[in-house]
């Protein structure tokens, strides 16, 4: 009894320690912020009438100038010291690697939280145990990656300081009031993560488990706040605020953080991290599946891969909509910036992005079709898959067709205009939206089939439900494709508005059909168990494809976002006067992204391999699952 109370006491103390860590940066920041204000006020008093005021470039509010103007750099060792290599490429590499690892270690605890929660609320004890083990496996992977993230963060800062000292010192001078908060957040994140990880076994059941789960919430709050702070730097570089036209800080740090693009960037990054994290864990599971020697291991990692893929795709689906919001805000902030992205210098990169999105959805569908092979009763859907392939292929081809192209005068002359005589008729925005919405709707359909693969509905209204579902999907396809065609008959500025009903149709399919299917499958008759582990090796390569494509797309979009500033370190405030103030070709960028992706994967495969070495030493009791008795995961059935 006393032992239980002692454990409870320990758990509550650990949770309090976490909350304390969470609050620590804020508490420490308060006096310094106040000090900053006093200093400003004091400075104002001393200066008397000579106090200088400036107007915020974004908020248009007036504030007392408290910072130095953005430095006007010149090419040379003072502002741009260098090795015998392009500094920008070095920084690009360091930044990208840090971001990959950072995204991974921020996403995985969110997965853990979700999976641990699923384990806590699941009534089936065997399944609960499996969920708990899965969450533990996830956090174990992220722990090794965590130290690498920190090392890469250090390398990034040193690279910045060494190669771009003027730029870095300007940014850190603007963000000075929150710099130490940022550092303390790291301390809080590390402390919380270690308490969470090492407290796992001590807080396995009952009340203690809930305390442990609460810790994951605290951990994720800290992680998310940390990411928001990091995003504020990027937001400031793209759409500065809180400074005047000369880049002088005006004393309001909230303005500096809360720039025009901060919120959409935050949302986009959370979703992106989750999709990416899902991809990495799915790839890990695929690796373990392919390397597995026993059926038991294959069953476990097949299941793990499925869960990770499902979570990743769940966050992938809303990602394009978050992307639309970000782009809309970019256009609202600076129209030229939007045009440079979507219709100018960087437009070809968006064609690559469209290709990538298509690859992601095609891989997901392929995996689901392969996964149906491990269910008895799912054969009935196999013969319809060719129609889904047809729909996906048509949607994909429309989606990747360019419309307006950036060309040299000679190319323009050769083509006879900015639009290709044949293809130019196809790639308009409403048709492209039609293409991607057809792809997403088809993915929803694949998921619905997968969810009912080995089941027969027993509800009395099953026939009506099936007919309704069929009609709903048919109408959805007609509506999406009809609007895509209608777009050709109306002016471009009206046509853009068609995306709203198209997206609404897709989302309706997603939510209504999933809900309806779940209701229909409640208490459904099982045709046979899901034989976890009995899936083709090809499906695992689809997971690898998914993970690699996620990683590549992340690198691509990061490059696009960063290079849209063109020759500005801080847009319209601090000019890039280095010899690298030009934008590389699409091909160079693609090669660089590939190099980054491959480095990341080689290093993380090494981390996985290291993890497998420690697993070999673990006692055999950890492996509790028995193939065949593996329950079906929540959310899929």
């Amino acid at each position: 009894m006393g032992r239980v109370i002692g454990k409870r006491l320990f758990s509550i103390m650990a949770l309090c320690a976490m909350v304390g860590l969470l609050l620590l940066p804020i508490v420490v920041a308060l006096p310094s912020l106040a000090l900053g204000e006093e200093a400003t006020a004091g400075g104002a008093k001393k200066e008397g009438a000579t106090v200088e005021k400036g107007r915020d470039v974004y908020y248009k509010t007036e504030g007392v100038v408290v910072g130095a103007p953005a430095p006007k750099t010149t090419d040379g060792p003072k502002d741009y010291p260098r090795y015998n290599f392009e500094s920008r490429v070095l920084l690009w590499f360091a930044n990208q690697q840090h971001l990959y690892y950072g995204s991974f270690v921020l996403a995985v605890p969110i997965f853990c939280m979700i999976i641990e929660f699923m384990g806590v609320v699941t009534k089936d004890k065997a399944l609960a145990k499996r969920y708990d083990q899965l969450a533990y496996d996830f956090i174990k992977i992220s722990l090794t990656a965590y130290s690498l993230t920190a090392v890469l963060g250090g390398i990034l800062i040193f690279t910045f300081l060494t190669l771009y000292p003027a730029f870095f010192s300007y940014l850190s001078s603007v963000f000075r009031p929150v710099m130490h908060i940022y550092a303390l957040m790291f301390v809080a994140e590390s402390g919380t993560l270690y308490i969470y990880y090492y407290g796992w076994d001590k807080m396995k059941e009952g009340f203690l488990k809930w305390i442990h789960l609460s810790m994951s919430v605290v951990l994720n709050i800290i992680g998310t706040l940390l990411m928001f702070l990091a995003n504020s730097w990027i937001g400031f570089m793209m759409s500065p605020a809180g400074v005047d036209e000369q880049g002088r800080y005006l004393g309001n740090i909230w303005h500096v953080i809360h720039t025009a693009l901060w919120n959409p960037l935050n949302l986009h990054r959370i979703l992106g991290n989750m999709a990416f994290g899902g991809g990495v864990v799915a790839a890990y599971a695929a690796y373990k599946f392919l390397a597995a020697k026993t059926d038991e291991d294959r069953a476990h990692y097949d299941w793990m891969g499925y869960i990770a893929m499902a979570l990743g795709v769940a966050f992938l689906i809303p990602l394009p909509f978050a992307g639309y919001w970000l782009m809309r805000e970019v256009y609202a902030y600076r129209q030229q910036m939007g045009i440079t992205l979507m219709g100018g210098l960087l437009a070809w990169l968006f064609i690559i992005q469209a290709t990538m999105i298509g690859i992601l959805f095609l891989s997901t569908n392929y995996y689901l079709w392969q996964a149906m092979g491990r269910m008895r009763g799912a054969e009935k859907y196999q013969r319809y898959i060719k129609y889904l392939v047809f729909l996906l292929a048509c949607g994909y081809m429309v989606f990747i067709t360019p419309h307006t192209m950036v060309m040299t005068p000679a190319e323009l002359k050769a083509m006879g205009g900015q639009q290709h005589p044949v293809l130019g008729n196809y790639g308009v925005m409403s048709a492209k939206n039609g293409g991607i919405n057809v792809i997403i709707t088809t993915t929803v359909l694949s998921f619905v089939w997968y969810m009912r693969g080995n089941k027969v509905s027993t509800v009395s209204w099953a026939k009506f439900g099936n007919i309704f579902m069929g009609v709903f999907f048919t109408c959805a396809y007609f509506n999406i494709i009809g609007l895509a065609v209608y777009g050709y008959y109306i002016p471009a500025n009206v046509r853009v508005g068609l995306s709203v009903p198209q997206v609404t149709t897709t989302l309706s399919c997603l939510f209504f059909m999933f809900a309806l299917n779940s209701m229909m499958m409640k208490g459904a008759k099982q045709m046979g168990p899901i034989e976890w582990g009995k899936i083709s090796a090809r499906s695992q390569y689809a997971l690898i494809m998914l993970a690699t494509a996620f990683t590549w797309m992340m690198g691509l979009m990061g490059y696009i976002r960063s290079s849209v500033r063109l020759f500005w370190h801080v847009n319209e405030i601090m000019r890039d006067n280095s010899p690298w103030a030009y934008t590389h070709t699409v091909g160079f960028a693609a090669n660089m992204i590939s190099a980054n992706v491959l480095f990341f994967w080689i290093s993380i495969l090494f981390v996985f391999w290291l993890g497998s070495l420690t697993a070999k030493k673990a006692p055999a009791e950890v492996k509790v699952a028995v193939p065949g008795s593996v329950p079906q995961p929540v959310g899929s059935h």
């Binding site: 900015q418 500025n493 494509a549 103030a581 030009y582 091909g587 693609a590 090669n591 491959l598």
Partner: protein, 434 residues
């Protein structure tokens, strides 16, 4: 290809020698014929895979800044190598197959990126010192056309764009629909705008827009030139119906103030732009001074871009910024005065060696007297430009070539020179100028 193979062999010879040694050892030491055959076969596969891997690395190394379109080939080769090695090391088979798959995906995407048309963003425009006030109207108009479209006579070209970036949103000719901003044809005669009640001529306080005046006390335009000046400097003071920022009910314009970043046109540049707008329609433009004065009405002294200050940046100190075709870079850097460069017009100099680096660079690296650090022809060419004394071609004297090109040419310009020269081969037709 020959260069690539020799480069690969120079890096891989040690590994290959070890593998060949292993091959011989297996031949000698294994007596079971089946086991011997298997061991020999696997070692042979290992040699092929190692060679492929090093060819891929050599390709990447040689072409990093050069023929980047070739780089995905490296990735495909590494993919093949990885799959071969998966046969070889069965205990790491899963890891190697996954790695191979990833290399293949990266190769496909890199190849795709390189297959698409290659667009490179140039350096920010260099500001040249001009004596604006002494220019004729036509000269001013030409400068204006350059600012709007990037060159004289380019106004009819689709997609032509200059420092002002106007054609991103505006159309300039009849029949062209500007979806983002009004068509500017007929602008010098749009006096009716001043009479529009929404414009509130003479009474800016009455305006129903997000900005009432360009700056407190600036007032409104009294004539069409002032209207143009006000539209440029304070786009949200009056918004043409249907062209406002979405959701603002045409109260706010999406157009940036032209005298502010990112476009930052100076007052004389704006005068040139306006002069072109008048002249191209056959309308007599106001004088340079009158146009500048109209802008002074709407742009306070402190907000006027200062041309000299902007010139402090390095682009103006460069001989070439890399946006020019390579023949112009050679001309601007005066390379043509001393060197003969096949394919470059006027490059007939004899003070320095003839530049056929596609053939000579590799030989010079191998020259026993070579003391530089270059390992590839591209590195050798770069070294010869930045540090001309690292290797002096006989019988030419040392210290003749200036040592400032590392500072005077941008990275983009140097890259173009290296790209071009590495393709010039003795006896072969010269490469295409890009």
């Amino acid at each position: 290809m020959g260069n690539l193979i020799s480069e690969a062999l120079s890096m891989a010879w040690m590994a290959i020698v070890i593998l060949v040694g292993l091959l011989v050892y297996f031949q000698m030491s294994i007596h079971d014929p089946v086991a011997k055959k298997r061991a020999v076969f696997k070692t042979f596969i290992g040699i092929v895979a190692t060679f492929l891997l090093f060819v891929a690395i050599a390709n990447y190394k040689t072409n990093f800044y050069g023929e980047s379109r070739l780089l995905p080939v490296s990735l495909v080769m590494i993919t093949a190598t990885t799959f071969i090695m998966a046969l070889y090391f069965t205990n790491l088979s899963a890891l190697l197959r996954i790695g191979g798959m990833m290399f293949f995906i990266a190769a496909f995407l890199s190849g795709y990126g390189n297959w698409l048309p290659q667009v490179e963003g140039g350096f920010p425009p260099v500001e040249e010192k001009k004596t604006w006030d002494s220019m004729t109207s036509q000269q001013l108009a030409d400068e204006g056309e350059k600012i709007i479209f990037g060159g004289v006579g380019k106004n009819q070209e689709q997609g032509a764009i200059g420092k002002g970036q106007c054609p991103l949103c505006h159309a300039f000719h009849a029949g062209m629909l500007g979806e983002r901003a009004p068509n500017l044809l007929g602008l010098p005669n749009r006096k009716e705008r001043l009479e529009d009640p929404k414009y509130s001529k003479g009474n800016p306080a009455k305006r129903d827009y997000s900005v009432k005046e360009a700056f407190p006390g600036s007032g409104t335009a009294e004539n069409i030139q002032e209207y143009i000046a006000e539209s440029h400097s304070c786009p949200s003071c009056y918004v043409v119906s249907g062209y406002g920022v979405k959701g603002t009910n045409d109260k706010e314009s999406p157009m940036p103030a032209i005298h502010k970043p990112p476009i930052s046109l100076s007052l004389p540049e704006l005068a040139a732009v306006d002069t072109w707008i008048y002249l191209r329609e056959g309308v007599e433009p106001p004088s340079f001074e009158e146009i500048v004065k109209s802008y002074e009405k709407f742009i306070p002294e402190a907000d006027r871009p200062k041309q000299q200050e902007e010139k402090a940046g390095p682009p103006s100190a460069l001989m070439a910024d890399g946006t020019e075709p390579v023949d112009q870079i050679f001309a601007k850097a005066q390379c043509v005065s001393c060197h003969t460069i096949p394919g470059i017009p006027g490059a007939m100099g004899t003070i320095g060696p003839k530049l056929e680096e596609g053939t000579t660079a590799a030989l010079r690296i191998k020259d026993p007297t070579y003391k530089g650090t270059a390992k590839s022809p591209a590195e050798y060419i770069m070294e010869s430009i930045v540090e001309p004394s690292a290797y002096v071609v006989k019988p030419f004297p040392d210290n003749t070539m200036p040592k400032v090109f590392g500072q005077k040419l941008s990275a983009g310009a140097l890259k173009k020179i290296v790209d071009y020269l590495s393709q010039v081969k003795a006896g072969a037709p010269p490469p295409k100028i890009s």
